[in-house]
C-alpha cells in the first residue's frame, strides 16, 4: 500500500506558498470578479483602506459571502478550550472560490500529513497513516433555508457592535462583536479583513466570559493561482475508499420528523433565551433509529438525540465522567468547548450535545423529562 508522505504534502504546500508570495507572480494575482477583494493588494496601506459601513451587520453579511468570491492560501491555528485543558491544530489551507478548499494538517503530530478536501458540501478526508479516503456528504449545507436562516437568527438574538481594530496576519481588520440581547454577554468576536471582508480571526466565548475557542490566520496570501492538483480527490494508490458517517438530511418540518421517529419523543422544556428548534432528522445509526433535534439561537446550537431501542452510548476510548441529576446517573465528555451528556430515562436513551457550560447543559437535560 502506498501512502502519501507528509513531506510530499508539505512540499506541495510550500510550492503553493512560494508561488503566491510577493514577486512577479504575486503581481499577476487576479482576484475574482465582483469580489470585495477586486483590488486586493499584498500589503494594503491604511490610507487606501475602505472605511467600514456604519452598520456592522452589513460588514458581517459581507463576511459570510466572502469565501465564495475570495481565493487564498495560508495557515491558520485553532485552539479549543475545555474546562481544564485545550486542544490545538495548525492547518495549511488553500481555498479557491467558490467551493474548493484543501486543509493540510501540520499539528498535532497525530494528524500531521493528513488532509481534507472540501468540494461544496462533500468532504474527502485523506488519512495518510491509515491509507484511507473517507467521503462524506453534509446534507445540511444543501438546504439554503436552514443555512441561510442562521444569519437572520443571529440578528434576532445578538446585537453587533464594532470593537477595536487590529492587524491579523499582517492584514488590517475591522472587529465586530456579537452581544447576546438577553444576557448582555459577548458571544463571538470576529476580525474581518477590511479589504476582502474575509474573517481572519474569531473568538467564541462561554456565557461566563471565558474563551471557548479561537481560530486565526497566521499567514495569508490572496491568490487564484492554485493548481488543480491541489484539489484532486483521486485516492492515492493503496488507499481504501470508504463512505463516512451518513448524516441524515435535516428537515424544518419537525412534526414529520417526530412522526418518522416511530416513538413519542421528549423535548426540553428549558432552553437558553433565543433558542428555538431549527431542524430535525431521523437516522439509522448502527441499526438504531435515532431522532435528532437541533436547537439554535443562530450562533450557538444544541443537539438532542433520542432512541427508544435501548442503545446506550459507546464511549470507546473516550473517558466519560459520571454525573448524577434527578436521581439518575448520566455520563459526559468534553471535546473542547463542546460537551456530550448522555443518560437514560423512561426507557429512552438521550444524548445532549452543545457548546454550553456543563451546568447549563444539565439544566436542559433535567427539563427533557421533568
Amino acid at each position: 500500500m502506498v501512502r502519501v508522505k507528509p513531506v510530499a504534502g508539505a512540499f506541495c504546500a510550500l510550492l503553493v506558498l512560494a508561488s503566491t508570495s510577493a514577486g512577479p507572480i504575486a503581481a499577476a494575482v487576479t482576484p475574482p470578479p465582483a469580489s470585495p477583494a477586486a483590488s486586493v493588494s499584498a500589503s494594503a496601506s491604511a490610507s487606501a483602506l475602505p472605511t467600514e459601513p456604519a452598520d456592522p451587520t452589513v460588514l458581517l453579511r459581507s463576511s459570510v459571502a466572502a469565501p465564495k468570491t475570495v481565493s487564498y492560501v495560508g495557515q491558520f491555528e485553532s485552539v479549543r478550550f475545555a474546562s481544564s485543558r485545550a486542544s490545538a491544530t495548525i492547518v495549511k489551507v488553500e481555498h479557491r472560490a467558490p467551493t474548493l478548499t484543501r486543509r493540510w494538517y501540520v499539528a498535532p503530530e497525530a494528524l500531521y500529513g493528513d488532509y481534507v478536501i472540501t468540494r461544496g458540501s462533500s468532504t474527502y478526508q485523506f488519512d495518510t497513516k491509515g491509507s484511507k479516503l473517507t467521503v462524506t456528504r453534509n446534507a445540511a449545507l444543501d438546504d439554503p433555508l436552514l443555512s441561510g436562516g442562521n444569519f437572520n437568527r443571529i440578528l434576532q438574538n445578538y446585537r453587533a457592535i464594532y470593537d477595536a481594530d487590529a492587524i491579523v496576519a499582517d492584514r488590517p481588520t475591522a472587529s465586530v462583536s456579537l452581544i447576546n440581547k438577553y444576557t448582555g454577554e459577548r458571544a463571538v468576536r470576529v476580525w474581518i479583513d477590511r479589504q476582502t471582508h474575509l474573517v481572519l480571526k474569531k473568538e467564541e466565548y462561554h456565557a461566563n466570559g471565558a474563551v471557548a475557542a479561537q481560530t486565526r490566520f497566521e499567514d495569508l496570501r490572496y491568490t487564484t493561482s492554485i493548481p488543480d492538483d491541489i484539489f484532486s480527490i483521486d485516492a492515492p494508490a493503496g488507499f481504501s475508499r470508504v463512505a463516512g458517517p451518513a448524516a441524515a438530511a435535516p428537515s424544518s418540518d419537525i412534526e414529520k420528523v417526530i412522526h418518522d421517529a416511530g416513538f413519542t419523543p421528549y423535548t426540553p422544556k428549558v432552553l437558553p433565551q433565543g433558542f428555538n428548534v431549527v431542524s430535525g432528522d431521523v437516522a439509522m445509526v448502527n441499526g438504531v433509529r435515532t431522532l435528532h433535534l437541533l436547537y439554535s439561537d443562530g450562533l450557538r446550537s444544541i443537539s438532542l438525540f433520542e432512541n427508544a431501542t435501548g442503545a446506550a452510548a459507546d464511549f470507546g476510548s473516550l473517558h466519560p465522567t459520571t454525573v448524577s441529576f434527578e436521581g439518575h446517573d448520566g455520563q459526559y465528555v468534553e471535546d473542547g468547548p463542546t460537551t456530550l451528556l448522555t443518560w437514560k430515562e423512561h426507557d429512552i436513551y438521550f444524548a445532549l450535545v452543545g457548546d454550553l457550560l456543563r451546568p447549563e447543559l444539565i439544566e436542559i437535560a433535567k427539563s427533557v423529562v421533568p
Binding site: L60, V64, P67, F76, S78, S87, A88, T89, V91, T99, R103, L111, T118, R119, G120, S121, S122, T123, Y124, T134, V135, T136, N138, D143, S147, I154, L178, V188, V199, L200, K201, K202, A213, T215, R216, I233, S240, R241, A243, P245, A246, P250, S279, V285, G287, H292, L294, G298, L299, S301, S303, F305, T309, G310, A311, D335, G336, T338, L340, V353
Partner: protein, 182 residues
C-alpha cells in the same frame, strides 16, 4: 520404738513412702508420743500451705502467646483451597463436580462465540457519532473555514453558507462504489 521420729521419717510417713514395717512402727509411736504428733501436724500443715500457694501462683497464659500458639495450630492445618483440592481428589467429588463444570464451560463458550454474542448484546451508538452529527448540522455563518466532518471535527471551526454538492461524490455514493457500510 521409744525414740522420736526424725524429720525425714515424718516426711516419708506423711507421703506414705516408708516400708510397711517402718510405717507400722511409726504409727505405733505416734499413738503414744504427743511431741511427734505435733511434728506430724506441723509438717502436714506446711505441705498443705505450700500446695495452696503453688495453686495460687498458677496464671493465665498471656493472650499473645495463646494467639501465637493458635496461629501455629491453624497453620499446621490445611487451608480451604487445600481441603477443596483434597476433596476433589476424592472419588465422590469427580462426578459431583466435573459434570456441572463441563456444562458451565460449554455454555460460556457458546456465549463467547459470535452466535451467542450477537443474540444477547444490545446495540450501542458510538459517542463520536453524536459529536460529529452535531458538528455537521450546527452550522454558523461566521466561520473561517467551510464545514468539515469526520477528521477531528471538533478541532476545526465549522460552518458555511449553502454550497453546491460535489457531483463526483454524489455519483460515487449513488453508484455504491464506496467500501463503507454507513
Amino acid at each position: 520404738m521409744n525414740e522420736h521420729l526424725s524429720p525425714d521419717l515424718i516426711v516419708d510417713y506423711l507421703h506414705g513412702e516408708l516400708a510397711p514395717e517402718d510405717d507400722a512402727l511409726a504409727h505405733v509411736h505416734l499413738s503414744t508420743c504427743a511431741a511427734c504428733r505435733r511434728e506430724i501436724d506441723l509438717e502436714s500443715n506446711l505441705t498443705e500451705v505450700l500446695q495452696k500457694m503453688a495453686a495460687a501462683e498458677e496464671q493465665e497464659m498471656p493472650s499473645l502467646i495463646k494467639a501465637a500458639v493458635w496461629q501455629q495450630i491453624r497453620d499446621a492445618q490445611p487451608g480451604p483451597v487445600a481441603r477443596f483440592a483434597a476433596w476433589l481428589r476424592s472419588p465422590v467429588a469427580i462426578p459431583a463436580f466435573g459434570v456441572p463444570a463441563f456444562a458451565v464451560l460449554l455454555v460460556g463458550g457458546w456465549l463467547a462465540s459470535p452466535y451467542g454474542h450477537s443474540a444477547g448484546t444490545a446495540p450501542t451508538i458510538d459517542a463520536a457519532y453524536y459529536l460529529q452529527a452535531h458538528a455537521q448540522t450546527a452550522q454558523t455563518p461566521l466561520s473561517i473555514q467551510p464545514a468539515q466532518p469526520a477528521l477531528e471535527t471538533s478541532m476545526i471551526d465549522s460552518g458555511a453558507g449553502p454550497q453546491l454538492a460535489d457531483a463526483d461524490a454524489d455519483a460515487a455514493l449513488a453508484a455504491g462504489g464506496l467500501d463503507g457500510s454507513r
